[in-house]
């Protein structure tokens, strides 16, 4: 009684439609993971949904404002603390500028290429998707604000991730702990180079293919090595939290814990190395390809 009788129903039957939609979505998934054709479609949808995304952020923004209002009395304390910190920092900074000049001189003497300087954009983490599978964050700065694919995200403690998709007013960044992501790194203590790959688990990285007798200890700090020109060198990445040397396997099992936190409502910096964007993309792609081939070799 409630629905129109089958006689008057137009269009294909629901089973046919189901099969059509299943095929379409499977095709979309394959195209999205292996090719880049759907980038514009995603971008358009993201622009259309931007007001909703903004609206969803509103409660957080309001609670932030309210918090700011109520914590005004703590400001004096905070101010004093920052002043002290500023004095310490400026002392260090003076040394740094002297060191930078000295370094430049030495590099000129050695005829080495100058290190890349990077500029930074301040951004805020908008949201963390509900999906447990992809470790990404959404930032409130997009291509209109100068964000580009492949740029590096850092906070005050260390590296967070890398921009993977840019939309006009927002961008998506993969965390360094993402399973498909790796960072060229160096052990701070002895300059040993390696590649830190994400594990897909919260705050956990892995150093792959390091020999069993490698000189890495628990507590070692890992910084970016700057090789590949995507990540500027010397950014803190993680601390080695576990080293397991198993004689029966060829490689040591090394687990690291990232230093930077990815909690909500945090300001982050988008660093852009002074490289043409094409190079940036290329080097990012080379990493991904390298990692894929490495994986395939291992299997």
């Amino acid at each position: 009684m409630e629905t129109t009788p089958q006689f008057f129903k137009h269009g294909p039957s629901s089973l046919v439609r189901l099969v059509f939609f299943i095929q379409l979505s499977l095709a979309l998934m394959v195209v999205d993971t292996h090719f880049k054709y759907l980038y514009e479609v995603r971008q358009t949808i993201a622009v259309v949904l931007y007001p909703i995304q903004n609206l969803a952020y509103l409660p957080t923004a309001i609670s932030n404002l309210a918090n700011n209002f109520f914590i005004a009395r703590d400001l004096a304390d905070e101010n004093a603390h920052f002043k002290q910190q500023h004095l310490i920092d400026s002392g260090k900074l003076q040394q740094l500028s002297a060191l930078t000049i000295e370094n430049e001189h030495l590099r000129k003497l050695l005829e080495a290429t100058p290190k890349n300087k990077s500029k930074a954009i301040l951004a805020e983490i908008r949201s963390v998707p509900r999906d447990p599978f992809n470790l990404t964050i959404i930032l409130d700065k997009g291509s209109q604000n100068g964000a580009q694919n492949g740029q590096v995200i850092v906070d005050n403690l260390g590296v967070i991730g890398q921009i993977t998709h840019t939309y006009p007013w927002s961008s998506e960044a993969a965390l360094i702990t993402d399973k498909n992501h790796s960072v060229p790194v160096q052990i701070l203590r002895n300059g040993l180079r390696s590649v830190a790959s994400g594990t897909g688990k919260y705050k956990t990285l892995e150093l792959n293919y390091m020999a069993n007798n490698v000189d890495i200890q628990e507590g070692d700090q890992i910084v970016t090595s700057g090789i590949g020109d995507v990540y500027p060198s010397g950014l803190p990445v993680a601390l080695v939290s576990k080293v397991k040397r198993d004689i029966s396997s060829a490689f040591a099992y090394i687990i690291c814990t990232t230093i930077a936190g990815v909690d909500r409502n945090k300001q982050v910096l988008i660093l852009s190395p002074q490289l043409p964007p094409e190079n940036l993309m290329d080097s990012a792609n080379i990493y991904l390809e390298d990692k894929e081939s490495e994986k395939n070799d291992a299997h």
Binding site: M1, E2, T3, T4, S14, R17, L18, F21, I22, L24, S25, L26, A27, L28, M29, V31, D32, T33, L38, V41, R42, I45, A46, L49, I52, Q53, L55, A56, Y57, P59, T60, R126, S127, V128, P129, R130, D131, P132, F133, N134, T136, I138, H165, E172, K179, G200, K201, R264, N265
Partner: protein
């Protein structure tokens, strides 16, 4: 106010198109709200819940195509594979369209476990596509979202029913 008091006529009154779209967008908004880690695990998929509601009560308006489009929107805002949620939602709506007469018979509280199973099925499809992409199994707590979705079903469907039937009461009389 027991849910079974709603007469068939009232339930099958056509909801306005804009109201359906609005409810779906509100569902999307609720899915996007930034929350902390522990709530993130518990948060049900509001878009799926709203789609299921309209699938049960307005199958002429909300079918697989609407579910597919909402799935694509979800994929973009969730930065997941394009087509992943679209697949899960359209299969889920297909099943609810098959079972909707049966679901109709029960009261809201008895509908909840069946809806929970459908949500679980949608999550399972998403998990399957991720496992095919060689992602790791995220742990059993991943399915908690369906459980909270099941608990929220009576509340959400009551809200949607009241808001769309109250709007139509003057017209009906």
């Amino acid at each position: 106010m027991t849910p079974t008091n709603y007469s068939k006529e009232e339930i099958t009154l056509p909801a306005k198109g804009w109201f359906i779209i609005l409810s779906l967008l509100v569902g999307l908004l609720l899915n996007l709200l930034p929350v902390n880690e522990s709530l993130l695990i518990l948060r049900p998929d509001f878009v799926a819940l709203v789609l299921l509601f309209w699938g049960v009560y307005q199958p002429q308006r909300v079918g697989m195509s609407v579910a597919f489009v909402m799935g694509l929107l979800m994929d973009v805002v969730n930065s997941s594979m394009f087509g992943q949620h679209a697949l899960a939602y359209s299969v889920m709506i297909f099943i609810v369209l098959l079972l909707r007469r049966r679901i109709h018979v029960f009261g809201l509280l008895k509908q909840a476990p069946q809806i929970g199973l459908l949500l679980l099925f949608a999550q399972f499809i998403i998990l399957l596509t991720e496992l095919l992409k060689r992602s790791d199994f995220p742990g059993w707590h991943y399915f908690l979202a369906s459980f909270t979705g099941m608990l929220l079903w009576p509340l959400i469907s009551l809200l949607l029913k009241m808001s769309h039937s109250s709007k139509h009461d003057p017209n009906a009389l």
